[in-house]
Symmetry: C2
């Protein structure tokens, strides 16, 4: 599937380069809006409009384009044409695009839009990024409680062209307060004369405009909803979030957490299109912090300089011991970060999980200690093996407890638990690992040192 539309995109951009405009258009007509958007991604901005104006569903195609491409294209389109296109876009996509335009573009476009569209953009763009308000669309279907099922179906017929979904319709009173939901399934199953107020579900799952978009996506997934109604402070219905937008949010949030786990700060957008300077800026923070974190492990090493000089064999195992704490700790952190993100684990589980983690870490550390002591015996003697084994168990246990607790601590402090990144844990475990290793060595090997 993905190979097919990539191949078609190539053929199309070749056709356009060869000035075979009509054959490109024919090929495009056979595709779905999202595939067309992909196919014309690389086409020059001045040609895109010539293609779009000859294609059906052009507002939908435009909505699927990369946000940055939308902004570039909107500079090339005649103002009246752009206004028409923007008018046809779904309310949420339209607002998102509008927010990305610069002031000059906004000033040019705004007066040409219909009054209702202007009002709609004003309202929707007032909500903060990342909230339900910024995610929702105002294109929903609405019913009154004293309608009959037959009247409701007729009303939905009229609303269908503008609503993102008519499979769930929301029932409001005169003040627009959300009082229930009715599914089209129940409507067509019901007797035509039955009243909406007797059909609707009043105890419905809803969200608030200020709710975090991640929680909205989780709620949609939990209750297997097609859409979730969103209300304002007065309980008035102001929008809906649809299942497909929820799926996109869940995927974005997973990507964000994934990136954070490796110490990549904040969102990158599309990986393929990210610039070198953007990638550099997102990645450099934790890496440089780690360098200065070394002040601590360096100080540890300096403190035990004599024991190292006397037992140079200790250096062989230094990278291993230092890494082991970081690796085991990162595993613990990763498991916790994801479990907190999916909601499998909540804050109050911390202490129970901490006890279990300590036992897992003991088992892991024990196994790794057994392995490393064999290597230590081969390269050194039984005292070196003992030092390595004891250090390994201690370092792995401390690493795991830190890695496991850090996401909870960050969460408690109001940070994203996903910020408990591998580089951060590595930095902390480096210094701890060095000190533990060399301290144990100094205790056990001191009487042998200085030989």
């Amino acid at each position: 599937m993905s190979i097919t539309h990539e191949d078609i995109a190539l053929v199309i951009s070749e056709s356009i380069q060869d000035n075979q405009f009509d054959s490109a258009l024919e090929l495009l007509k056979g595709l779905r809006p999202v595939d067309i958007a992909d196919a014309i991604e690389l086409v020059e901005a001045s040609l895109v409009w010539r293609l779009l104006e000859r294609l059906p569903k052009r507002a939908e195609i435009f909505s699927y384009l990369d946000p940055e491409q939308q902004v570039i294209l909107s500079r090339h389109f005649p103002r009246a044409i752009l206004a028409k296109l923007v008018g046809e876009m779904p309310a949420d996509e339209r607002t998102d695009m509008f927010k990305r335009l610069d002031q000059e573009q906004r000033d040019a476009l705004f007066p040409v839009l219909a009054h209702a569209e202007r009002e709609n953009i004003r309202k929707l763009s007032a909500y903060q990024e990342g909230t339900a308000g910024a995610l929702m669309t105002s294109d929903y279907a609405m019913l009154k409680q004293d309608m009959t099922a037959a009247e409701a179906i007729n009303a939905l017929r009229l609303e269908a062209p503008d609503a993102e979904t008519i499979y769930h319709a929301y029932v409001t009173d005169e003040e627009r307060t959300l009082i229930g939901v009715v599914s089209l399934r129940d409507l067509i199953l019901a007797h035509p004369a039955k009243l909406i107020k007797d059909l609707m579900i009043s105890d419905l799952v809803s969200g608030h405009v200020d709710d975090n978009q991640e929680n909205i996506a989780k709620r949609i997934a939990r209750y297997d909803l097609i859409a979730l109604p969103i209300t304002d402070n007065n309980g008035h219905l102001v929008g809906i979030v649809t299942h497909d937008d929820a799926m996109d949010v869940a995927s974005e949030e997973a990507t964000d957490d994934f990136h954070k786990s490796a110490g990549v700060t904040t969102s990158l957008g599309n990986m393929k299109q990210a610039s070198i300077s953007l990638l550099y800026r997102k990645r450099v923070f934790w890496l440089v912090l780690l360098v200065f974190g070394n002040l601590f492990s360096g100080a540890g090493i300096a403190h035990f300089e004599d024991i190292i000089a006397a037992n140079l064999v200790l250096v062989f195992f230094l990278p291993l011991l230092v890494d082991s704490g970081g690796n085991a700790g990162s595993q613990s952190a990763t498991l916790m970060v994801r479990a907190l993100a999916t909601g499998e684990v909540v804050m109050k589980d911390w202490f129970v999980l901490l006890g279990r983690e300590a036992l897992v870490a003991l088992a892991l550390g024990g196994t790794m200690a057994a392995a490393v002591s064999v290597l230590g015996y081969i390269r050194g003697d039984e005292m070196v093996a003992l030092v390595l084994a004891l250090s390994m168990v201690t370092i792995v246990m401390i690493g795991c407890v830190i890695g496991m607790s850090l996401p909870f601590v960050l969460n408690k402090m109001g940070f994203d638990p996903a910020s408990a990144s591998a580089p951060l844990i590595t930095s902390v475990c480096d210094a701890t690992g060095v000190v533990i290793y060399l301290f144990i060595a100094s205790q056990l090997l001191s009487n042998l040192a200085g030989v």
Copy 2:
């Protein structure tokens, strides 16, 4: 939201422990099936049935229970009651549960089920885990192409109680070959006499029973579908995958990739319920491998023992340099693994991305080199600073190129790119880092050594 149902769960299990069975039941009746399932998670198996039999939608509640709890409960339920409950479950959930029962339980349950249910379980359980076949349900709505829109709506009324969704209905010919899809939205908008064959979309997006469930979920997300029809080798319609199951799959796959990135092998199930021995087994592999990977870095250190002995200051920076390659490399790997998983990047992008990565790595390495050379100058002299700077740039660049390429290589070899885990990259970068650092040091410091 999540706090509310957790609190209710507590109140309910307390009510049950206090033998206030009826008040617990009243509380449960106010909840949604998925919340009831959560609330009774901790209730003793023998009591669960007494609750379930007094609740509406009990098959749905049962479907939402943890798979292991379903198996335990099914031992406590009378056979006829279990058969009734299983009969009411959605076809996909029923099959999943059946597959988890042991042979004895299956033999007991199978003869009591209705013929159609037995056949259905036989068919659905034949598909391999992780494929569209294992994910799909056979509870879909079907129409014939010579029906009118009015007839079709009537047909859907009859199918509604059994179908998972009637918002998309699938059109098949006499051989059950999938020839089109029609939405309920289009049906109620159409003239009642219009024929389905003139209403349906023939060029529809579908999946094959053997398709990977991850690809199915991606397709549903890409085309914003409510459900995706699944066909067999003959093009016959055999099931549908619904948007809510696709969302669950996407979340599971993200969790899997997340865990793999930290070297946690294969799926753990629910984090909170995972046993110590399971956690140990899933985590120990890469950690112990890392210990033996140390044979290489240890050998590198042994080779340069003299230069270390002569310049003990080198040891101060060993943990840092070794970690830096691993950290930068893990970032690169994480970015690529996720980009490959979401489809933002495909195999053929490798070489283009490699060039960009090298430049990003140069910039990152340069910045880190500047930072570390300051520390090196403070603790050593300008030669040490130079050794550190050169080593840092080289190590970070090699780490990034390895980290970035590994997911592609694994993918090419047929492995999951997400197996390019932090511990694996750390192991590789450890050995490379040690050798590069000490080699550069031996070249630049050799004439000063042995003092």
